[in-house]
């Protein structure tokens, strides 16, 4: 059975690194893996997404609407935007962070104050303060690896040797921080 993981966020939040580590771990564990990314505009503050699918034999690299087993959103509004993709009984992890888009900055639109409430009307969301948790262990930028930890726990992938996958993909200087971040993320999911 093929599983589908959707990572969404805003350009620059580190979704691409998180999905790279995730896919390498899944490959090492013996799964067939496909990953699809749209990143043509990612450096310019647009919405970004990485789609990861794994199983015995994966066909489409693209996740269908209504078929994602889990969505991990690095930003609140992007979680709402991605809801179309979540299965009815799927898991939604939301980083409790609000990044204003240009239309909000210029005053053309207002960022609604009740995004989380709107999401929770429809699905049971796991709200994580990944940015604050990352700051707590020394570096805000590790929020992406904390969120990766939530995926690993939610999808029951703890048995994969993630430490060695991190070692192969992260600069030695940031290795300990990221190992810690991964555990913080896993612990954030009950």
């Amino acid at each position: 059975m093929t599983k589908s993981i959707l990572l969404v966020g805003v350009g620059g939040q580190g979704t691409i690194l998180a999905s790279k580590i995730l896919t390498n771990g899944l490959m090492e564990a013996g799964y067939d893996v496909k990953m699809s990314e749209i990143h043509g505009m990612s450096q310019r503050g647009g919405s970004v997404s990485s789609q990861v699918r794994y199983g015995d034999k994966v066909m489409s690299p693209v996740i269908e609407k209504g078929k994602a087993d889990i969505i991990v959103s690095f930003e609140k509004m992007e979680a709402l935007r991605a809801l179309d993709y979540l299965k009815e009984d799927g898991t939604l992890v939301v980083n409790n962070v609000e990044i204003p888009s240009m239309s909000v900055i210029t005053g053309d639109e207002e960022y609604p104050s009740d995004v989380l409430e709107e999401i929770e009307k429809h699905v049971k969301a796991i709200v994580v303060d990944a940015t604050a948790l990352a700051a707590g262990i020394g570096n805000e930028k590790a929020a992406n690896i904390i969120l990766l930890g939530t995926i690993i726990k939610s999808m029951g992938l703890e048995s994969i040797d993630w430490d060695s996958i991190l070692e192969a993909n992260i600069k030695p200087k940031f290795l300990e921080l990221n190992k810690k971040a991964l555990r913080v993320g896993m612990d954030a999911v009950a």
Binding site: E37, I38, G46, V58, M77, L83, S103, I105
Partner: protein, 591 residues
């Protein structure tokens, strides 16, 4: 060794394993990473050309001179490369030659959605369409052998989802290809009419032989399952179809798609009850199937535009949209891409957008985003390099009508080198009076920072002659040339005033590096205090008028509770545009 690779990485890997020694390209999403990866192999000479026509011509030269060569581009690049490509098809290769086109169903980062399979048919070039990364490697390797065997250049047609999706590949060693001897052979390489007539006859015969090969190609294969439904698909659509129909259908997977295998198709269709043709964009396979007198379901059911992802297929086949979680869509806010903090385009477009009675003829690059809010400073964008020539035509038309409206054209440094330079020659030669702005941010920005003739470095990172745009435009004959700092708004205004008052063509070069660029030693020497400071708002002086936000900087934010604007430290790079916009002098440098 197994590895996860994108289609682009796998194309480069296939070229490496096939013994390719020469590669050229012009960057364009989603093809850019092909040449970026090719340039990492020491065995392959790889270069950025100023445009796709030049890239293909140099790859043709390398093939004629005996080395296996590759040329890669995004779909619209093929329009630029089409001139040599059509005649190259007549000539045939010496060493193998493969041309990669990366099409964009869905237009994620493109101005149109053209289906370049039509080019293969029209130019009579053999074509392959990979479905995943392993096939990218396998098809590239096969293409070089077949290219030499059948004396034909090959097109490999990719799409965004093949280029930018990762799947697992098995790596092999490189097999060096022995260089082919070059000999004088005008009958093969000089396309005079007398020679070309013979070549055309040969080309037709070659296509007949390739049609025979297509019937037995391992890339065209039937996979029989339930015969209630028969699916014919190529490229990524093959996997989309398998996702939707699984064992409930039989499949004819087509990988060698020009010429198409008529016999194989007839045989497959005779064994199934109904035939779906799944292909993105044009009914390329469908029209061929119908020509064979076979009834099928194609574009009468499936869309002619956008991606044919599994949910789209499912909705078409079942007649009902996929069920999704309902939520209040009025809560959604847009998140369009914007100029980055410190983007050197900001100052220029902030001021240009305020000019009255001008038409702004734009071009292809990050700066096309100036068409949207808050700048609304772009009135047309067609294709690479077109800003200057469209501007010329528009200015002539306004002048002829006796309308006083002035035309300002805007394009980037790499786009100027691409094809803008021809247009500027036209402007000077035909005595126009447009104001032409070249946004020289010292790099090819939009596609993720590739070197170009103006940066002083090659694709391999070697130092080379740095071609200065101001020298070029003066040599063309432009008498009024200004090189300005676009972050200095007064300089922007004064220069625009000067140029708009002229009755001759002018060029304004806004010279400041892209804020995301990895600065070269030349950049650090030329540009004083390059993005090392930060700006801040003095809350005592800020009156909350929010005028500064109209400059569209993502590092700034209005805090409703305090009725003040703040600057996000981690994003600000101290470009100072906001300090000049603030009417109260409330924004300054951090101490």
């Amino acid at each position: 060794m197994r590895k996860l690779m994108t289609g682009d990485e796998a194309i480069a890997r296939g070229a490496y394993e096939a013994g390719v020694s020469y590669a050229s390209a012009y960057p364009g999403t989603p093809s850019t990473e092909i040449l970026e990866n090719l340039s990492t192999y020491p065995e392959i000479y790889a270069e950025w050309a100023p445009n796709e026509k030049v890239a293909l011509e140099s790859a043709i030269g390398a093939s004629i001179a005996g080395l296996r060569s590759m040329m890669s581009m995004k779909h619209v690049g093929m329009n630029v490369a089409a001139d040599p490509m059509f005649t190259w098809a007549y000539m045939g290769v010496n060493a193998g030659n493969v041309i990669i086109t990366a099409d964009e169903p869905g237009m994620f980062s493109s101005q149109n959605e053209q289906d370049n399979r039509n080019y293969a048919k029209s130019a009579k070039l053999a074509m392959l369409e990979p479905s995943d990364s392993q096939e990218c490697i396998d098809m590239v390797k096969a293409a070089y052998d077949l290219s030499e065997q059948y004396d034909t250049p090959f097109i490999i047609r990719m799409t965004t989802r093949v280029c930018h999706s990762k799947s697992i590949v098995e790596l092999s060693d490189r097999k060096d290809a022995a260089p082919k001897e070059w000999e004088k052979n005008p009958a093969k390489y000089v396309c005079l009419p007398a020679m070309a007539r013979k070549m055309k006859v040969n080309l037709i015969e070659r296509m007949r032989k390739l049609a025979e090969y297509s019937e037995t190609s391992p890339f065209n294969r039937a996979e029989m399952g339930s015969t209630k439904i028969g699916v014919i698909a190529s490229g990524i659509c093959y996997y989309y179809a398998k996702e939707v129909f699984g064992e409930e259908a039989s499949y004819l997977k087509l990988g060698f798609t020009n010429p198409l295998p008529a016999g194989l198709i007839k045989d497959f269709c005779s064994k199934v009850e109904k035939v779906y043709i799944l292909e993105e964009n044009d009914p390329y396979i469908e029209e061929f199937v119908r020509q064979q007198g076979i009834d099928c379901i194609g574009k009468d059911l499936f869309p002619l535009t956008g991606e044919l992802t599994p949910d789209v297929i499912r909705a078409c086949v079942t007649g009902s949209p996929v069920k999704t979680i309902e939520f209040d869509r009025s809560k959604l806010i847009g998140r369009a891409p914007t100029f980055c903090a410190g983007c050197p385009h900001r100052g220029l477009f902030y001021r240009l957008g305020k000019r009255k009675d001008i038409m702004i003829s734009g071009d292809i690059g990050c700066y096309t985003l100036a068409a949207g809010k808050p700048y609304q400073a772009m009135d047309s964008t067609v294709c690479m390099g077109a800003s200057i020539s469209i501007g010329h035509g528009a200015q002539r038309a306004f002048n002829a009508q006796g309308v006083s409206r002035r035309v300002v054209t805007v394009l980037g440094d790499s786009t100027f080198f691409h094809t803008g330079i021809n247009s500027l020659i036209n402007t000077v030669y035909n005595k126009s009076n447009t104001v032409n702005i070249i946004l020289d941010n010292r790099i090819t920005g939009m596609t993720g920072h590739q070197d170009n003739p103006g940066t002083g470095y090659t694709a391999k990172g070697e130092e080379t002659t740095l071609i200065r745009i101001e020298d070029l435009v003066r040599a063309i004959g432009v008498k009024h040339v200004y090189v300005i700092n676009p972050n200095n708004l007064k300089e922007v205004d004064d220069t625009l005033d000067k140029c708009l008052a002229l009755d001759e063509p002018s060029v304004i070069i806004t010279r400041w590096p892209c804020a995301l660029k990895k600065f070269s030693k030349e950049d650090k020497e030329e540009f004083d205090s390059l993005f090392v400071t930060k700006n801040k708002v003095d809350p005592d002086k800020c009156i909350g008028c929010r005028l500064c936000l109209k400059a569209g900087c993502p590092a700034m934010q209005y805090v409703k509770e305090d009725k003040k604007v703040i600057i996000n430290r981690s994003q600000c790079v101290g470009c100072d545009v906001c300090t000049q916009v603030c009417p109260k002098g409330a924004i300054g440098k951090e101490d």
